[in-house]
């Protein structure tokens, strides 16, 4: 979502920029040289002393940190609370709690993801205007592994500013200069007199003092919290089973809705043959067609609604996609690779000429991946009320309150209702992986809420709707070519990928206009291999449309392109007769940061040590979200093709890790997510519709087949980089390369295996076509 909207916001920013640049030119540009801090003023709100947009104190010493980022398991609430606690100079203990603020304050806008400029480096008119435009839009969203990069500096400033205000309040109270005061453990102390005042005692006075213009941040040498693992603030509730997720929301008078979407995407409701019958089922209050496209049943309980929905006899309109199937879809990708006019992203040097050099060794290979879906553990849901006074409020597991506000307004509009305001309560997300940045479920629930004014409506998609009628990562195919020089290293690299544009599909559902499909950067993430020293380089993409709704999916293009490219680099190494690690080391000779990460993972895995027959290890590396991640996978392949992933080693440079254990957890989780995807995940199409419907046919790794994972953090002195997605990125290629090492077979399609059921909730993975 953030990246999509970045295009739009760039347009808006550009329009606003002209005017502001004119003002700046006339009025003097000095005030634009630095970026001021949004939301820095304090105020009193009942028993809360609001020091600024991020820090709220209570007189009993409790500290509430406003974190405008969705907690979906990545630990961001904890990470950003740590930086506030560090600057406030308080211990990281249970006096601290975190809330996602409902107020769409401009200070909470996700302008980092849109502008891709670190706040600590931001200055000048573009940022100044961009921040204001994005802030006014309520551009609040979580994604693209950008939360720490975008928020850690502003929240350090917020913590430091609050501490400064507390010191100033203490100085006034005690009648001593600030310079004689010190902070620690939630107190301001005056050594000369031995007096001390708690933050709680000072909070109300501090909130009314002017914030410092440029709060002094604690020097790195004095950090006690940042960089040292702290326990996650959200886990006690989660192990107690507290009602923290969107699905757990319970409100007085709440009614429940189940839904049916068209099997063939894009079809509309032609008719519902048995509305009266379903309406008469126990507990049913309403049977409603939503915007001509979905049918919902509203009842006193969700179970009743779902039971009744299963009886619906819906006829859908014909779209022309009723014959679409997986083989045909794959053929479309191949035809596009052969016949279409690609969009050029990179054309450095003369790759075509180098590839035509008769003296060079030509390596060429094609790869492909299927559609996949998110399958978050918490099925998609939303609770919305539209009150008689016209105000609307949503409680929802979402990555984007902006999308929710927009979706609620849109859905209510389908019922002819225009909410006077929309409040979005962001709950804990039971997994997200990009899925929860769409407006879809918020709009559907709002339509139903508009039909049942004054009552909260909770809409839950069944797991079957989630998997078979949901949103997908595009399938993709590519053709990679390299010309190897006399030393075996590539002189030229030529990459061509065919995939469906995520931007266009997302925009068509979520924006007032549909972006053009060409040059979709999500389609080429992981394809450029710029960190490899190669003199001639070409990178092109082709958009291949389909009726499938494409969406953000954890790591987007990296999830397929890094499989393609890092498999291909192994094929080049093989053609050159080189060891895959040595080959990459040679290609990374100009990028010491990458080399350090690669060497670290090779060392962890004991690269080069002998392995038993049937076992193999594979390596892969990628730069993504400003991080560098390398992995070595170890596999065992049995004679019948059964593949066991024994261990995965991971070295990653995410820059400075604020909460190192949370980064390790993200790598572990990303690796498991990636192993599932590489070995097991495939959405297939038959007669235009998705075949899979639940975890029996869209399987996920379980404890029994989960590999051991070892993670090392490499710190090369950079500021924080992205950590939520890198873990998944190299896994598929590392596995394919390990399978090649174990068997001599090069697998160029995902999933690498088929899943066989060997017992109740127990599966094994068997390489496809083991005899080949």
């Amino acid at each position: 979502m953030p990246r999509l909207l970045s295009r739009r916001t760039f347009l808006l920013t550009g329009a606003a920029l002209g005017g502001t640049a004119l003002v700046a030119a006339i009025g003097g540009a000095g005030y634009l040289a630095t970026v001021d801090v949004d939301g820095r003023d304090g105020f009193l709100d009942g028993d809360r002393a609001v020091l600024n947009a991020f820090v709220v104190l209570h007189d009993d010493g409790r500290v509430v940190v406003n974190v405008p980022k969705t907690e979906m398991g990545q630990g961001i609430h904890t990470g950003l609370a740590i930086v506030v606690a560090e600057e406030l100079d308080i211990p990281f203990d249970d006096r601290i709690s975190v809330v996602f603020p409902t107020d769409p304050h401009p200070a909470y806008s996700n302008w980092f993801n849109a502008l891709q400029i670190r706040p600590e480096e931001a200055a000048g008119p573009v940022v100044w205007v961009g921040r204001r435009v994005l802030g006014q839009m309520g551009f609040i969203a979580t994604g693209a592994s950008g939360s720490t990069m975008g928020m850690w500096h502003p929240m350090r400033q917020a913590g430091a500013s609050a501490r400064h205000m507390l010191l100033a309040a203490a100085a006034a109270r005690l009648g001593v200069p600030v310079a004689e005061l010190a902070t620690g453990d939630g107190f301001v102390r005056h050594a000369g007199s031995g007096q001390s005042l708690s933050y709680g005692e000072l909070a109300r006075a501090a909130a009314l003092l002017p914030p410092p213009d440029d709060p002094v941040l604690k020097p790195r040498a004095e950090w006690r919290l940042i960089g040292r693992s702290q326990p996650r603030v959200d886990l006690p509730d989660k192990v107690r089973g507290a009602p923290v997720f969107g699905m757990d929301v319970m409100l007085p008078g709440m009614i429940h809705a189940a839904i049916r979407h068209a099997p063939v995407f894009g079809a509309e409701v032609a008719s519902v043959a048995n509305t009266a019958q379903v309406r008469a089922e126990p507990g049913v209050l309403d049977v409603a067609v939503i915007n001509g496209r979905q049918v919902a049943v509203v009842a006193h309980s969700w179970w009743q609604a779902e039971q009744a929905a299963s009886l619906l006899d819906i006829a859908w309109t014909q779209t022309g996609d009723e014959a679409a199937n997986s083989a045909g879809m794959a053929a479309r990708l191949q035809a596009a690779l052969n016949n279409s006019e690609p969009h050029s992203h990179i054309d450095d040097g003369d790759a075509a000429e180098a590839l035509g050099d008769a003296a060079a060794t030509l390596v060429e290979a094609g790869y492909d991946v299927p559609f996949v879906t998110h399958a978050c553990m918490e099925p998609v849901n939303a609770t919305v009320i539209i009150r008689d006074d016209g105000t609307a409020e949503a409680w929802i597991s979402t990555q984007s309150p902006m999308a929710v506000r927009s979706g609620v307004a849109r859905g209510a509009g389908w019922a002819g209702v225009e909410p006077s305001s929309v409040t979005c309560n962001v709950t804990m997300n039971g997994g997200a992986f990009g899925r929860r940045s769409d407006q879809d479920v918020a709009a559907e629930a709002a339509f139903l809420a508009a039909r049942h004014r004054g009552r909260p409506v909770k809409l839950i998609w069944s797991r079957e709707e989630d998997i078979a009628r949901g949103l997908y990562r595009s399938h993709a195919a590519c053709r990679l070519r390299a010309a190897l020089g006399p030393d075996g290293l590539p002189v030229a690299y030529d990459a061509l990928v065919a995939a469906q544009s995520a931007f266009q599909s997302i925009g068509s559902r979520n924006l007032p206009f549909t972006p053009g499909p060409d040059g979709d950067i999500l389609s080429v993430e992981g394809l450029d291999k710029l960190h490899y020293t190669i003199p001639n380089r070409r990178m092109r993409s082709i958009h291949v449309p389909s009726h499938m709704p494409i969406h953000f999916w954890r790591s987007n293009g990296f999830s397929f392109n890094t499989f393609f490219t890092e498999s291909f680099i192994d094929e080049c190494a093989q053609a050159a007769g080189a060891d895959p690690l040595d080959y990459r080391r040679a290609l990374l000779r100009d990028t010491p940061r990458h080399l350090a990460v690669l060497d670290r993972v090779a060392d962890m895995a004991g690269w080069g040590s002998p392995m038993a027959p049937g076992r193999g290890r594979g390596i892969a590396i990628e730069e993504c979200y400003r991080s560098v991640v390398a992995q070595v996978a170890e596999v065992t392949v049995a004679a019948d093709g059964e593949i066991t992933v024994d261990r995965v080693f991971c070295a990653v440079d995410v820059g400075m890790a604020i909460n190192p254990d949370a980064v390790v957890a993200q790598m572990e989780g990303g690796i498991l997510f990636g192993v599932t995807s590489a070995l097991m995940s495939m959405i297939t199409l038959d007669r235009g519709a998705v075949v899979e419907s639940n975890f029996h046919d869209f399987p996920i790794q379980r404890l029994a087949n989960a590999p051991a994972v070892k993670v090392a953090l490499v710190d090369t002195g950079l500021p924080p980089c992205g950590a939520g997605e890198p873990g998944i990125v190299p896994v598929a290629a590392a596995l394919a390369n390990a399978i090649h090492a174990a068997t001599g077979r090069r697998l160029r399609s995902l999933p690498l295996a088929r899943t066989e059921t060997i017992g109740e909730r127990r599966t094994r993975s068997v390489l496809r076509d083991p005899a080949a």
Binding site: M72, G73, Q74, G75, P231, R232, D234, L235, P236, K238, V239, R240, G241, A242, P243, V244, F245, M247, D248, M250, P282, S301, W302, W303, A375, C376, M377, E378, P379, M428, N429, G430, G431, A432, F433, I460, S462, R463, D661, A662, A665, E668, G669, G670, I671, L672, F673, T676, N694, F695, H696, I700, Q701, R702, L703, A704, A706, A708, E760, R761
Partner: protein, 154 residues
């Protein structure tokens, strides 16, 4: 109507005989700990203890639990609120990511350790078949062994 005991509290619920226990707990008794994840006994997010046995409540029906003693994740902590040894191990190993599936894991592991105090990895694999999409399995395994060791020390 069905009568049973949930987390020590006797309840009787007027319900359809076809309504799964999961939805009775969530909708009729207001307990959000057991989660809906699949509805077909695949993911385990809805697991509860029925007379000490870990059961997927999404395919457990009123007729299966007449007079039964049911424990949900909300019932694992002591009455004074202190966490069970297993819940504490989950904190100590910082297991949950999103956390949606973890109530089911905690129930499955509570049942396992009651039956097999020091399980091997193979016994864990056989007994704990829940799905975690975030991939917390390495920490779940560590937390099970940690909890087992703590319980063994009494």
């Amino acid at each position: 109507m069905v009568e049973f005991v949930v987390n020590g509290r006797p309840v009787n619920v007027e319900t359809d005989a076809a309504k799964p226990l999961l939805w009775i707990l969530r909708e009729d008794l207001g307990m959000s700990g057991p989660k809906y994840g699949c509805g077909v006994a695949q993911c385990g997010a809805c697991r509860v203890l029925v007379n000490g046995v870990s059961r997927p409540s999404c395919v457990t029906y009123p007729g299966d639990v007449v007079g039964a003693n049911i424990v949900t994740v909300e019932g694992l902590a002591a009455p004074d609120g202190s966490l069970s040894v297993i819940q504490q191990a989950w904190i100590d190993e910082q297991v949950p990511q999103c956390g949606f599936c973890q109530p089911g894991f905690l129930i499955a592991v509570t049942a396992l350790l009651a039956e097999v105090p020091r399980p091997t990895d193979a016994q864990i694999d056989a007994a704990v078949t829940n799905i975690c999409r975030c991939g917390t399995y390495p920490r779940i395994r560590r937390a099970i062994h940690r909890a087992a060791a703590t319980l063994a020390q009494g």
